[in-house]
Subunit: 170 residues, 4 copies
């Protein structure tokens, strides 16, 4: 076949509890991801950055994939179209990192930090959206695999730069 | 919101190596799944039942999700639109089982047997498509959670029966 | 160094609920494993074959490792010395299979079948102790990687045969 | 039974490549852990902090458990007595975190950061040994679940404080 139908998948990570300003950014980022035709992947739960980003993508007509820590759908966000039930707790953070062409990390706690760390370790580029982890990962900042941005619009520009730099056979 | 956008996900399991007749059944099953509007989920690799079922669903306009054992896309089927890279080897069989509303098992080896076993253990109904595991799981046959069928058309009828029996809040 | 200190690890799988005769066999097997100087590895919970085999090994002075599906110790058998908390549900069955030099499967349900299947798929020899899965895995019976025995003593003889056949560099 | 035989398990995390000074600290820490009668758990590979800490514990007569990312023993440290083969890549970092009563993190890269994050998220206390992650986890520093120390001796004092504070039923 001439072209692969494989979709671009953008992971959006962030806290299960977030303030209104952070949720607004995640919602807006979800909308922009959907409008670019990218699939939004997140942790799938009905809370915080997960809920906000899924709602943004869904309401803008995008496709949403939620990789849940749970073995059932009790905590599933209603804006997730494709739930992946891992039943593996935070081991699913590794799946989130690996499955994303680019990871965007909104402000979060230790779980979000683990996703950023796993993504960087396994070669996925990471965009920090108004979330300052620069003291932890100076190596990756220097190498250009980790970038900090302030807004959802800047995040999309950074994603596009990472995608166009990626080998198409990656 | 009035209705959840969550899609129905049908898992199709089966051997990485399969003969032409088995692959033809899996291809046909993939087509039927897509035509019903269900998402096809499988192991994602470019081999055997995985490749055949993904190609069938994709060519019929369906959405295909591949949950790979790998941490990269080297073995990804070109008919998979959404690759979930687990990097977890056969531990991904558990994810396949949990994420499927109904599992259809085509003929396979030990990996496929493990997926059937994990699906049954965790309450997912299983349709055996021309694959006889009845001596192993008499309990589940008796309870009606496991059914054997001969053709892809019969598999779809069995899937529909399981879906209509399922609690919508499951 | 002249020799590796790596211990031989024997996995004992089987149902979380078992009748008294099955538990007695598992207890006796645990004792024999400990007396041979092998480490006993099982699913770690305080129930059925897990509890019985751990108690047997512990009371005979052996070392017991429990690979739990849980993220905490609530269901931990008191006879497990080293709990490995996976927090991964039945995905831990894959860890059990891979970590065992030889797997002994006592009678069990779908979870035990999944462990036998995963062990065989990944090259670990399996001894079926009074548990008849022969119709499912004819290939492995023929290849000699799967053997059926009736008693704990016969299981130990089968384990020894597998261990002496194994490449020391495996 | 009067007392549980469950052993105290101390996780030692850190980079697969480390300089001589860091390896010397990890080796010394391994010795001290063994002399206290605690089990040493680490990532199991024959490299960096993993190799050094396992060698220290083993040479001091301790018990060593290695939770490997691999499905085979090719990269296994010769100082590991009980290899747990997860075959799950960095998803095993979650197992390391959960299975440790206390985690000690020596200097490392993104993988080590993910283990610290996962340990903190799931309630395991963490001792940072000459590894400064304080800007990332201010919440945990404030709550006392995260402590920074300069030497192996200080790490042992911090471990003892965490162990004596822990509920025995945890």
């Amino acid at each position: 076949m001439a072209t692969t139908p494989t979709r671009v998948v953008i992971g959006v990570m962030g806290g299960g509890s977030a303030d209104a300003a952070q949720e607004a950014k995640a919602y807006h980022l979800g909308r922009l991801i959907a409008k670019r035709g990218w699939v939004l992947l997140n942790g799938g739960r009905s809370a915080g950055i997960m809920e906000a980003s899924a709602r943004g993508a869904f309401e803008a007509g995008g496709l949403t994939v939620g990789v849940l820590p749970d073995a059932d759908r009790r905590h599933l966000s209603p804006y997730i179209q494709i739930p992946i039930l891992t039943g593996m707790g935070s081991a699913r953070n590794y799946v989130n990192a690996l499955s994303s062409d680019v990871v965007v990390a909104c402000r979060g706690g230790a779980g979000t930090v683990s996703e950023v760390a796993l993504a960087l370790k396994h070669g996925r580029p990471v965009v920090l959206l108004d979330f300052d982890l620069s003291p932890v990962f100076p190596f990756y900042l220097d190498s250009g695999r980790l970038r900090w941005v302030a807004t959802a619009e800047e995040a999309v520009i950074a994603i596009e730069a990472f995608l166009s730099a990626a080998s198409p056979a990656a």
